[in-house]
């Protein structure tokens, strides 16, 4: 282990990454031998690390070539070539795209933090697993499951769900003032939504050790019940119900179940998915945060509508198909397009659905549309380069990280056929429920689809620039219709993949334009 040779920190009980002080931004690096940090510089919402600090930590030889305006980084005889302001780097002869170009600030060189897994990861002998959202880098074979917390609080109880990926066991113990959940892992990558304190649950926080989470219970809490539900082959859900003292005759009713949560007591709804096929679905609500997207004449925002539909769709798929569903964003935040595809890639999603609402030059234009990626000249070239002899090299990482072995640009190219099947199914399902545009299935060079390493479509669910459609798009009933249609399409696509059944496109084959 390389870092063992570097100066060790006096780590006694290193805090879990989630409890890191939010002040100065830093990337927490977890290794067998402890924890290190790498300072982060944030520019335009993107995290960068300096080459100097990278080189120091990973024992790289950095050499600047003033003449060519470039920088070479060498590790064990393998070289990475960077050029300022070029978002493409050469890693041992292979071209790899970065989400943003390296930057020069005086004598300092900065690279986006994705450089670590996407470029350095190709020549470094250990796995570099970047958890961008939690600013965590896991080195080697440490077991650091991602633990995503969802909280459903009601007046008769509360329910805390931990989605654990990859799955590991956990033990819940009751103590004074709350419950402690201990995960069987080296550390956990914990995310907890903010919640207002209420009568059953006051707070969910990282525990005293890297593998524990603490639930501070409130005055009405009396007892708890734990259920573990396999979500799919690689992840599971641990559900903790916080219940009041039993005074009524309904102790078996799950606390405050809601449509937005799968009820753990009803396993038929959550039958484990088969080992192959469609297990994980990433839903991408378009835009968010500072990026409003399109806007209706009465001010309805695309970013709001897309999130509403995405949440409805998640609920349907989770509860009826029992599949693992991830949203690229579950709140109103600014999120880069590469990060959306990366979330799907990193979670090995089997399906990617980006949801948008449209605007046209003319207000009369209306109807829903489905897009899959068109290959332009450049992406066809990228695909050729990726498949050509220059990059046909032994698979680093044992072939499990194929996304790193090809140009990012070409990731979607390999799935176009399935993406077009998916687009056809989505179009068919939508047509039964909502008005379609005259060009219902189209191809376009949409950025969010380019890097998705799985079948992927972008659905435009209607035109905000049309007054009537704006009203519909903002309504719960229209959003439900869209979610139901997309759910139907996902279910049919799953059948298509898992049973090899050929979907029958209704009303003729989709007509790409």
């Amino acid at each position: 282990m390389l870092l063992a040779l570097t100066v060790m920190l006096a780590v006694t009980a290193h805090p879990a990454p989630a409890s890191q002080a939010p002040g100065a931004a830093a990337l927490t690096i977890l290794t067998r031998d402890g924890q290190r940090t790498l300072p982060l510089t944030t520019l335009a919402n993107r995290d960068y690390v300096t080459i100097d600090e990278l080189a120091g930590l990973f024992r790289l030889t950095a050499r600047e070539d003033d003449l060519a305006g470039g920088m070479t980084l060498t590790y064990a005889g393998q070289t990475i070539v960077l050029t300022a302001d070029q978002p493409v780097v050469s890693v041992a002869g292979r071209l790899v795209s970065l989400p943003a170009p390296p930057r020069r600030q005086g004598a300092r060189w900065l690279v986006p933090v994705e450089f670590l897994p996407q470029a350095l990861g190709l020549i470094y002998p250990e796995r570099l697993d970047l958890r961008r959202a939690s600013r965590l880098l896991v080195l080697g074979d440490l077991r650091v499951p991602r633990v995503v917390t969802r909280i459903q609080a009601g007046t008769t109880g509360a329910q805390v769900t931990f989605e654990i990926t990859p799955t590991t066991t956990a033990e819940v113990t009751a103590g004074s003032g709350g419950l402690t959940v201990r995960f069987d892992a080296d550390a956990i990558d914990l995310s907890v939504p903010t919640l207002p304190a209420q009568t059953f649950l006051l707070a969910v926080t990282a525990g005293d050790t890297p593998t524990t989470v603490r639930l501070a219970t409130g005055p009405r809490f009396s007892t708890h019940r734990v259920t573990t539900v396999p979500a799919d082959a690689s992840s599971s859900r641990l559900v903790i119900e916080l219940l009041p003292a039993i005074t009524t005759t309904e102790p078996d009713t799950p606390a405050a179940p809601s449509a937005s949560l799968p009820a753990p007591a009803t396993p038929p709804l959550l039958a484990p998915a088969p080992a192959t096929g469609v297990r994980t679905i990433v839903i991408d609500p378009g835009h968010g945060g500072e990026e409003l997207g399109a806007q209706g004449p009465r001010g309805t925002l695309e970013k709001t509508v897309t999130l509403g539909v995405a949440r409805r769709l998640r609920t349907l798929i989770e509860t009826r198909l029992g599949l693992r569903v991830l949203l690229t964003r579950d709140d109103d935040r600014t999120l880069g397009l590469d990060e959306r595809a990366a979330l799907a890639n990193n979670n090995r999603a089997d399906l990617f659905i980006s949801i948008h609402a449209n605007a046209a030059v003319r207000a009369a234009v209306r109807g829903a549309e489905v897009y899959y990626l068109s290959l332009d000249r450049a992406s066809r070239e990228a695909q050729r380069i990726a498949e050509g002899p220059a990059t046909r090299l032994p698979a680093l990482g044992g072939g499990t990280r194929s996304i790193d072995l090809i140009l990012w640009e070409a990731a979607q190219a390999r799935h176009l056929e399935q993406s077009s099947v998916l687009a056809g199914l989505v179009e068919q399902a939508l047509r039964g429920r909502v008005e379609m545009s005259p060009h219902a299935v189209q191809q376009a060079p949409f950025r969010v689809l380019v890097g998705a390493n799985m079948p992927a479509v972008l659905v435009e669910i209607g035109y905000l620039s049309n007054g009537e459609q704006e009203t519909a798009l903002a309504s719960a009933s229209y959003q439900d219709q869209i979610a139901q249609a997309l759910y139907d399409a996902v279910a049919r696509f799953r059948d298509h993949v898992e049973r090899g059944s050929t979907p029958t496109p209704g009303g003729g084959a989709p007509e790409p334009r």
């Binding site: 470039g70 890693v91 041992a92 002869g93 002998p125 609402a357 605007a359 030059v361 949409f446």
Partner: protein, 198 residues
Amino acid sequence: MTLRTLVLSAVVAVAALGFGWSLFTALERWLATPPAAVADGGGEAVLGVATPGDDVARITVTLYFASADGLGLQGVEYQVPLAATPAEQARAIVEAQLRTRPAEPLLATVPEGVTLRGVYLSERGDAFVDLDGAVRTTHPGGSMYELFTIYAIVNAVTVNLPSVPAVQILIDGQEVDTLAGHVDLRRPLTRNDALIVD
């Protein structure tokens, strides 16, 4: 460190340097061409149909606007000044595409007030069209609107200048991810016939 990575390193280290640098220096050369070199090629005379008696040599080009039903891009012939070089000709065409407000029922697809900072050509013939930031701040969003804005420009250049295979749009001199969150602008785009209607 494994044997595999050692072997790999021996094979590719040299190639990496050579290939990497040659690619990047090529890119640098394309991108280093200052927009200023063609910055004054336009002028006011580009608008509209040729005035009789005007002694500036003109060529007929096809510009693209949203069709009456709003569902496609429709080509309309206009005249623009004949330019001395392909880069200047491309600039004159884009200037006209940006400034022309077509007759009803057609509609322009580039928001009003967007100015052209420059047009230049790469060694392989691709055009780089550098728009000012107004194109982003005034754009109403929506993938269809964005496709129409971008492909009106891409088609105007590639259809009228067959020697230009593709067009990359820059904003304020920078390569950008997208204009309004959808269309990938990191690479030159080729002409899109599917959006064109008669």
